[in-house]
Every structure is written in C-alpha cells, then in structure tokens.
C-alpha cells in the first residue's frame, strides 16, 4: 500500500503540468519537425510529403536569409549592450548616489510597460523631421533622418528600443547579485588603494559572471522571441531590413498561411535555440561558477 502510494502520488501531482507541457511544448515541437516535410494543405489540395523541399527552398529564400542575418546582428547588438548597460545601471543604483530610488524607477519603468505600448511611443520618436530624436539631433545641426524607413538604420533603431526596454529588467538581476557581494570586499580593497576600475575588473565583474550568464541567455532568448515592436513599427521593412526570424515565421504562418513552410522555419529557430542551450549548459556553465 505504502509503496504504491509513494509511486502514484508524485505522478498524480505532476499530471496536470506534464499533460500541458506535452501538449504545448513537446508534442508541438515534434509535430513542427514532422510537418516541415509536408506541403501546406489548401482547400482543394491535400498535404503531400515533400521531403527536404522546404529546407532547400529556404536557402534560396532571400527573406529567410535576411531574417537570419538580421537576427544575428540583432542578438549580437542588443545582448552585449543590454548587459553592459544593465550592469552599469545596477552599479549606479547600488551606489550611494543621491536619489537612487528615483533612478531605479526610471531604469526599471520601461520593463513594466507592454512592448507594444512603448513601440507606439517610439514610433513617433523616430518620425523623420519632427520626431523627438530628429528634433533633438537637430539642435546639434544633424539633418533629419528617416530612421525606420532606411534599411541602414531601421534595425539599429529597433535595437535601441529593445535595449531601452530590457536593460532595466536585467539591472534587477545584477542588483540582486551586487547585494550578495559583501561590502567588506570593497573596503578591504579600499585599504589597498584599489582604483574603482581595478576593483570592478578584478572583483565585481568576475563575481557577477554567473548573473551575466543568466542574463545573457535570457537576453538571447528574448532576441529570438520578442517581436512585438517589429509588428508595430516596421512590419519587417523596408525590404526586410528589420525582419527577424520569428516575425518571418509569424508572417508565413498567419499572413501567407503557409504553415508547413512556417514549420520548417520554426525548426531552424528551434535548432538555434537548442544550440544556444547547449553552449550555456555544456560549456559556459562550468567556467563561471566559483563555488
């Protein structure tokens, strides 16, 4: 009796969670993979096995290539910048500066707001000529720029927004980590005349490494996951200069209704995420922990 009880109870406890996870994570992941080998069924054309067709057409699909490249640039641009800024913010807010509660609020506020809401606001900032950014730059004699209408600046503009939105969120994790660092460490260093930069480089930064890893993974996932601002601000344009992978999936699936091709694209996205997971757990994780 007791033995069966011990076996049954945990599975009963896990049942709702596992059913839902299977239904909305594991089975869909597998189905995505399977469906990526079939053609999308349409009203009068049934699904048909097409093998690797979707994958090979991906290679000649300029939009996919652009999305892949954009997403790489987007991740490489936003992740380090967000990390550096959030670390800086945490250090500022953790210091003895006057009004740090206000500063903390100012840094954190963007993360509470819906991305779609702030994207609407920023859309106006980027308006050529009289948008906030051009008005501001105009004071310094810069010409107006079509920030979101120029393929050279559009991705950068979206990245700025993403950094603005996310840095405050990551700041919290750094703040938590900084507060874990004993203040006597900096006092001990102060006795030796350690410059603040040396102390940051040799002590704070290494001690923050586990947090940095955590933040980095989150930031990378977000850079593949969060596309609300693309939907609102550019819809991937101009000429796909701001199309990100998931946005392309969304477009192909829910605008073009080519769900099979969207599945193939999703498989690529999953592969990228899996690779990142591997890098995190397999390689980096071992290097950054000092305990």
């Amino acid at each position: 009796m007791k033995k069966t009880n011990n076996m049954v109870v945990p599975w009963l406890l896990l049942l709702p969670a596992t059913v839902l996870l299977a239904a909305f994570t594991h089975i869909p992941a597998v189905m995505t993979f399977i469906n990526s080998f079939y053609r999308t069924p349409r009203g009068n054309r049934p699904a048909r096995f097409v093998g690797m067709d979707h994958y090979s057409s991906m290679l000649s699909d300029p939009v996919f290539m652009a999305a892949l490249k954009n997403n790489a640039i987007y991740a490489l641009g936003t992740v380090p910048a967000a990390i550096a800024l959030s670390m800086l913010m945490a250090i500022i807010v953790n210091s003895a500066i006057r009004g740090r509660a206000l500063m903390r609020m100012s840094f954190f506020l963007p993360t509470v707001l819906p991305m779609i809401a702030v994207a609407n606001i920023w859309l106006f900032f980027y308006t050529p000529g009289y948008g906030l950014i051009d008005q501001f730059l105009g004071l310094f004699g810069f010409h107006e720029r079509n920030w979101l209408g120029d393929p050279d600046t559009v991705l950068g503009s979206l990245m700025m927004l993403a950094i603005w939105k996310e840095a405050g969120f990551f700041m919290i994790f750094y703040l938590a980590a900084l507060q874990q660092i004993s203040p006597t460490l900096s006092e001990a260093a102060a006795l030796e005349g350690t410059s603040r930069w040396y102390f940051f480089r040799r002590v704070t930064f290494p001690l923050l490494m586990p947090t940095t890893l955590f933040v980095m993974i989150n930031a990378i996932i977000n850079s593949f996951r969060l596309i609300d601002h693309v939907i609102v601000m550019t819809r991937g344009g101009p000429d796909n200069a701001s199309t990100l992978l998931l946005y392309y999936v969304y477009n192909v699936a829910f605008r073009f209704w080519d769900t099979a091709y969207a599945s193939a694209l999703t498989v690529v996205l999953l592969a990228v995420l899996a690779l990142l997971a591997f890098v995190q757990f397999g390689v980096l994780d071992r290097k950054v922990h000092y305990k």
Binding site: D150, P151, G237, N251, R255
Partner: protein
C-alpha cells in the same frame, strides 16, 4: 495525434462551451465581420445601419464583429472557417478573393441573384470595381468600402513659390517641376519642406500601380496567376517614383510611413502628397491651410488603382443563413446605404446610382472635394490580386522598398520580384 487532442478536448469540453456561446433564436442570426481601417466612430455607423436593416427585415438578426485591420479580418475569418464556424458575411480586401477561393471559403453571389431586381442591383456597380470581385465568370464578392488614391497640395506653399494655387500639376513632368520649386533647402543643406511625397511603407504596390497605369502598363493579369513586374512599363514607373527621391531630390528618401505622410503634409513638411481617398476627411479637418485635391497626374494617360473591400458570403453555413447574408449585403450596398456609407466614412460609393441620391448631391455641393474620386472612376484599374496575394504583394512591396532605399536598381529589384512571383504562382498555372 488525434487521440491526445481528443483527450484534452474531452477534459476541456465544459470550458469550450463558454467559447461557443450563441444561442439559437427564432430569427436567422448572421455574423458580420468588418474591418475598421479608418479611425473614427465606424462601429457606431455600422451599428446604426444594422439597426435599420433589422427594422426592415425582422426575420434576420445581424451580429457585427469588429475585427481589426484587413489582414486581421481575413486571418480571423479563415481561422473561424477552418474551425467550422465561419461568419456568414465578412468584409475583406477585394484582393483576398483568390486566397478565399483557394481555401474554398466563399460562395459566389450568382446563386442568390434570382429576381430582376437582384440582377439590376448587381449590374449597378462600376465595372472597374467588379474586376477584383469576379473570377471565372462568377461574382465572388461585391464592392463595399472602396477607395483610390488622390493628389493633394498645399495652396499656401504654391503661392509662396509663385505657382497658381488653384491648379495642381497635371503630368509627371509638371510634378517634378512643381516639386523642385516647392522643395525648400536650408542653408545647412537640411530640407525643411519636400516638394512631393508618396507613402511606401505597406502595400506600396498600390501606389506603383497608379504610375504603371499612367504609363499604360499592367502589373498583373486578371486570372491571378501572372504578374508583369519586370515589364518595361512597370520598370519605368518605379524608376520615375525612385527618381523623385534620388535624381530630382524632391521627395524624402527611404520608406515613407502611411501614417506620417498626412502628418508631414499638415506640418508643412511636404507640399504635395499622394494618399488614399480615405484621407479626404482627415485632411479636411486637420490641414491648417487651404489645400487642393485632384485626380492623379497623367503620363501616357490618366490612371489610378482601386482599393478596398468586398463583402463576401462564406461557405460552410446553412443555406438560409447565406440567403439572409445576401439580403444584408444587398441592402448594405443599395444606393441609399452606399451613399450614406461614403459620406460618413470617405470611401467611394461603388455604384453610379449612389451618386445620384439626394444625400450625396447635398454632400458634394457642400464639399466639392468629395467629387474628385468620382471623377477618377473612368481611369481606374483593378488592384493587384493574385493567388497567394499576401505573399505576392509582399514580394513587390519589398522590391519597391529596396529601390526606394537605394539597395537595388528598380530594374534589378523588379526582375528579382518577378522571379519570386513566378515561383510562388507556378502551382496555380494550368
């Protein structure tokens, strides 16, 4: 696969009921999806119309569903259709016709047109609007909120540079000539006013179509399976558009947002703009200066694209509901209602008899600008509409954006786009 969804389905059956709702009442109830693409109290207008319709037809109840933008409306409608609960009637883009046919989602109107009165009603639409509503000799949708593009100019700016404020440019060369005069460069090289502005952020193919029509070309054929993106007429048309920004430097380079284009006009940062006729009311209320409005300038000839929605009746619903939906659509697009809708929203009434109603006459007398779209009707060409239209339009939009942003030469961009379109449409050719 089915077994596990079935399992969850069973488990959730009770909750799913909440989503289904909808009790059966004695009158035939129909769902009406309609998009709202223009700001303003459109919902109110629609509900008003429905109330009157229901008063006329006590046996029919219409349930309006406000469904967002056009793309969202078709997404929702198709989703509902696939889930086996399509709306009876929906207003969706006329260019979505092929997509809807391919999905087997809609039924032709011909089956419902029985009486002479019905036939007269159907024949009353301007033929050009019907091109995007008919396929294979059948009528799959009827024009509902249709639009076109118009040309606006700032009379104060004209006066300032010595142009006749009452007369807009009449052809491509005049546009360049006027725009050059109107473009104001500051000493530091910064442009404080552009001569000409054409939006290009979304569905920019639509504006390109105007230039193509004026260049006596065609962007696609009417079977929905063939595009002519790389034809010389299309290339020349795009080249002209691109030249406005890059060669003549009278238009803001890069992609211009639909949303900011009228705003630029109000702010005096663009002296002449092309935009949808749907903006007439917006410009009338918000322009802080006298403005002119006219049909698009000509090149080889006059030309402008149509745009906007059709009302479609869905497949997969009970015949009596389809019949009720037909009654509703017919009533909605009859002269009085068409005129009223046009006056209240700024869309073009798609039938001549609507323009002859008293209400419309009175409105035009009060606001002559409203007549301009009507004046353009003889020159209009149907909007680009193909199978997988969303995809094809994205391909050509991308080509236009690539050219306007200087990433590709128009000829190159269009030839790439044509190749891509051929690849997509291949499956649909016999």
């Amino acid at each position: 696969m089915n077994s596990w969804t079935g399992w969850i389905k069973g488990a959730l059956a009770g909750v799913a009921m909440l989503g289904a709702g909808a009790a059966q009442a004695a009158p035939v109830e129909i769902n009406f999806y309609y998009p709202v693409a223009i700001g303003g109290p459109v919902a109110k207008i629609v509900e008003d119309l429905i109330t009157r319709f229901e008063a006329d037809h006590p046996d029919i109840k219409v349930k309006p569903v406000y469904s967002g933008t056009y793309p969202e409306t078709i997404s929702k409608a198709l989703t509902a259709y696939r889930a086996g609960q399509p709306p009876e009637v929906a207003v969706m883009l006329s260019t979505d016709m092929y997509t809807l046919i391919d999905e087997d989602a809609i039924v032709p109107f011909d089956d419902f047109v029985r009486t002479d009165e019905d036939k007269a009603w159907l024949e009353g639409f301007f033929p050009v609007f019907m091109v995007n509503s008919q396929h294979d000799g059948k009528t799959w949708g009827v024009p509902f909120q249709r639009g076109t593009t118009l040309f606006f100019w700032n009379k104060d700016a004209f006066r300032e540079v010595g142009l006749d404020p009452e007369k807009g440019p009449q052809n491509w060369d005049e546009v360049v000539e006027f725009a050059t005069k109107l473009t104001k460069r500051e000493a530091d090289g910064n442009v404080s006013r552009w001569g000409m502005q054409v939006p290009s952020s979304l569905t920019s193919y639509w504006l390109l179509q105007g230039y193509v029509a004026q260049n006596d070309g065609k962007i696609a054929d009417e079977t929905g399976t063939q595009t002519y993106f790389d034809s010389p007429e299309v290339v020349e048309a795009l080249q002209y558009w691109v030249d406005l920004a890059h060669k003549h430097k009278v238009m803001k380079p890069g992609v211009i947002e639909w949303a900011t284009n009228p705003k630029d006009f109000f702010e005096g940062r663009a002296a002449m703009i092309t935009t949808t006729s749907g903006n007439l009311t917006n410009i009338k209320t918000n322009a802080p200066f006298p403005f002119g409005v006219q049909i698009l300038p000509e090149h080889k000839k006059r030309g402008a694209p149509t745009s906007g929605g059709n009302a479609y009746i869905f497949n997969g619903v009970a015949p009596e509901k389809q019949a009720a939906a037909f009654q509703f659509v017919k009533w909605l697009s009859s002269p009085e209602q068409a005129a009223e809708w046009s006056i209240k929203t700024g869309y073009i009434a798609a039938r001549e008899d609507a323009w002859a109603t008293e209400a419309m006459k009175a409105y035009v007398a009060e606001f002559p600008g409203a007549l301009v779209p009507h004046e353009q009707i003889p020159y209009m060409v149907p909007e680009l509409s193909t199978h997988e239209n969303q995809r094809i339009s994205r391909v050509i939009d991308d080509a236009i954006e690539a050219s306007l942003t200087g990433k590709k030469e128009p000829a190159q961009a269009l030839s790439d786009a044509q190749k891509e379109a051929d690849r997509i449409l291949e499956d649909y050719r016999d």
